[in-house]
Symmetry: C2
């Protein structure tokens, strides 16, 4: 946000709070304000743009609803980090033998550089046959497999990821993407469906071929919505239970 331009951009017929919300959204999507960072206070915004505090507050409320900002009384307003505990994966009942819910460990079975399949390249917004880093990854709880994952990364931005031995990668990949490659995941799209287990999936998950599995495709996005990672995960259908409310 330029410091000496107190004019709000956008169509003047739009309400002020809308135009301010658009302005703030631009700052976040452009990555000028990063997740975890502090956003300007209500009073600062009101003075800077010469509007009433209530109007600035209303704009902020919009972005809070959208999940872009979060507010803490007494502390300030901050750019929200994505909440992957809101992922569809939370509807898998992953319990260890004692019945506790646990974060599955991640074991990378295979990693190589290869041309991407068309559907992956398309999802990542790359040309056909673009080079990618392919991984096969198994997630386990108490030694028992719960998810079989197939992951693709664009080879260019993630070249440094290849330098890290697969054995040193912990249960979470996104922090590694950030520290090793400077690639920050800020949002994702997920799609769920079910299918019958193929022979490979059945072997990895130790179930019968043809048994139903839940498939979740995820496209993780970086700043500004640029696709960063494509991932397909499969888990036993009998461990999955999604609930929702209608009104």
């Amino acid at each position: 946000m330029s410091r000496h331009d107190p004019e709000l951009a956008g169509d003047r017929r739009l309400p002020l709070y809308q135009r301010l919300a658009d302005e703030l959204r631009r700052e976040i999507n452009a990555g000028r304000w990063k997740p975890g960072e502090r956003a300007p206070s209500e009073t600062w915004l009101a003075e800077h743009f010469e509007i009433a505090p209530g109007t600035a507050r209303q704009a902020i409320a919009m972005l809070v609803d959208e999940g872009l900002l979060e507010r803490f009384r007494g502390k300030g307003t901050f750019v929200r980090r994505p909440r992957f505990d809101h992922s569809l994966f939370r509807f898998f009942r992953f319990r260890d033998r004692s019945g506790e819910n646990r974060m599955p460990e991640g074991r990378i079975l295979h990693r190589e550089v290869a041309p991407m399949p068309d559907h992956v390249a398309e999802a990542l917004g790359l040309g056909a046959d673009a080079l990618g880093i392919a991984m096969s990854r198994l997630r386990l709880i108490g030694g028992e497999p719960v998810l079989a994952e197939e992951i693709w990364l664009p080879a260019g931005p993630f070249a440094d990821f290849l330098e890290i031995p697969v054995g040193e990668v912990g249960p979470l990949l996104y922090p590694v993407y950030e520290s090793a490659c400077g690639q920050l995941v800020v949002s994702a799209d997920e799609a769920l469906r079910a299918e019958a287990a193929g022979p490979e999936t059945a072997r990895l998950l130790q179930i019968d071929a043809g048994a139903p599995v839940i498939v979740i495709d995820r496209l993780a996005r970086g700043i500004g919505g640029a696709p960063l990672e494509w991932r397909r995960s499969r888990g036993r259908a009998d461990q999955f239970h999604y609930t929702t409310e209608i009104r």
Copy 2:
């Protein structure tokens, strides 16, 4: 809402708008304001409870977020009807042969009065072996089966439903519940999972036994959250695709 009591109930330490929101929520849940009916205007609420218009507005905004009310500029504020187009069923791709999305027709294959299975009685909040109306229903598009449904109703409140010939029931059941039995559905809980098709499901859906199917259990609720209908629907997994966004 009693006309001569301008005192807001509830813990006085709570914000005014919270207490007003609670009050309005009570009116709706108790069924004193019915879906589609008009709620009091902002100015009326402000005068009646002797609070500022902005405070009344804030309370209404809460209930709008919760999906209980909806506002129309110039017209007023109304108790919202449930939106069953937000059901999980919308993620089934039900196309006819021309590729258009269409409302499936409903064909009741069987209807009888029988003791409920334990899990149904429990979901409906009734004692074990309570009597219920059981239905087997097939939903079709262009003559092709897309959903196989098993439906249970409490026998008492829905006795009049038995008087209606199954052939005269259209594609939607809830309007019939309302007109014939005075039972209004205002919300529902849905749960999704996947399983392998049993022989009966396979026959109804004309797929192979063991093929994956999506199962959606729905508990429809009336005024005040009282359970009205239990329903289990099964559809071909290859027609289902649920998407969501994380941030």
